[in-house]
């Protein structure tokens, strides 16, 4: 793919992501997305053969974006406690600067499983992100900071907590800005997971 075509593709992904996150998956049409990036409906299909395909590409795009950020944290020579805080920071920062990404994950990916069941089995489409969380856990246990336990009991605690806070923010229930909670939430998560 030429870089020009690749750029266009990313532009469509970003635009569709914003539309899906704000209007919902079923209320957003291919013509809506095409007009938001100023291309014809016909040429949209040169990039994505269906709305479902686009939806899956978007979740992979988000997973790669967050996965890369987490990989940088995992590769730093810092304690598990510091890594915990940095992961919380990245997640909340993304939720503030690119709210559509986290909204998409919570409101589209998790809520419309029928769209993702073929092609996004298990955690395939969020593999990069989950892999980095697993590495963070594994290395935390290996160095003696974290308590060994089932992956999902730890994953649920970490991501459920962060997702819940972002959801409350999205619902405008949270009284303060997300980043004001970083210290307490990082402390709580680390306390809960550590030995």
């Amino acid at each position: 793919m030429t870089s020009k075509k690749q750029l266009k593709k990313e532009l469509i992904i970003q635009s569709a992501l914003e539309l899906f996150a704000s209007k919902g998956f079923y209320s957003t049409t291919i013509p809506d997305i095409a007009s938001s990036v100023k291309i014809s409906v016909g040429s949209m299909y040169n990039y994505f053969t269906s709305k479902d395909v686009l939806a899956k590409e978007i979740i992979k795009y988000i997973s790669l974006y967050l996965g890369n950020k987490l990989q940088n944290i995992n590769e730093e020579k810092i304690s598990t406690e510091e890594k915990t805080k940095k992961i919380v920071e990245v997640y909340f920062k993304t939720a503030s600067l690119k709210p559509e990404m986290i909204d998409y994950f919570l409101r589209i990916y998790l809520s419309n499983r029928e769209v993702f069941k073929n092609g996004c089995e298990g955690m395939i489409c969020v593999n990069e992100f989950v892999t980095e969380i697993m590495i963070y856990f594994e290395e935390g246990v290996r160095c003696g900071d974290l308590r060994d336990q089932d992956f999902f009991s730890a994953f649920g605690l970490f991501m459920g907590y962060l997702g819940g806070m972002v959801f409350l923010k999205g619902e405008e229930i949270l009284p303060k800005a997300l980043d004001t909670y970083i210290d307490d939430i990082s402390y709580n998560i680390y306390k809960a997971l550590s030995k």
Binding site: T131, M134, E138, D150
Partner: protein, 290 residues
Amino acid sequence: MIKLLWLSGITCNANTHSFLNYPFIEQFLNDFEFIYHPVLDSSYTLQEIVSNEIECDVLLIEGSISPEFQRADVSIEDIIRKYAPKVQKIVTVGTCATFGGIFSQSDYKDVTGLHFDKEQKNQKFENLFDKTISISGCPIHPEILVNTLYAIKGDIALRLDNFLRPKEFYAYTVHNGCVRNEYFEYKVDAHQFGELEGCMFYDHGCQAPFTHASCNKILWNEVNSKTRVGLPCFGCTEPTFPKANLFTTKKNMGVPENLPLGVGKRVYLTLAGITKAFKIPRLEKKLLDD
């Protein structure tokens, strides 16, 4: 005729027993002569071996070595020092003679292998390093020992790894040739030991993907291997042998602590994430019973 001296250090004699299972032992004994072997008829007694200097081509050492340990009232180290300079090759037979093995945990002082204390190289017999070949294993595979001795007899240069093990036999992993590879690929673990189905890497302690040996290439008793029969590989050819809890896979939050040789954690987890997302019905079923 190549003359062999089989010297026993601190050992349970399992390598001797394993060697006796070599299917063509008669042919072997026609081609080699034991000047001394602890259980086979040999030309000299141990007393004669330690009191004289008998002509010899290959020194085979079975068992760990300690400066305190004696044979026929002579320190094992002195017997090695006496024969080692005269022989063409030294072969450490088994994991104890090579790395110290299980007898490292015995009450003798400073128990090690001839050249290695687990992964660490010893200085003591450094001058013998270039003439030594390590045949690790608990016990050794008889064909691997015999084939190595025939290579010495035929003056065939064997390429060795960093622990002096012939690459011909130790460049492979035990995983190579395992009949459970399909189950490994799709992450289907065995639910019970001894069953035909399932891989034992994920839960049952199998060390085959990171253990150097040819157990699934050169079968035991010409018919089978541990993993084929439904038992985990214990990693018995490695300097780290024996580890604790051999029947369970050490995991950190679900991720195996030891990954297949040379496979990075990120690569492993990425692949694992993909394969775990799918169920292959054929691999969930019994192979033979409907």
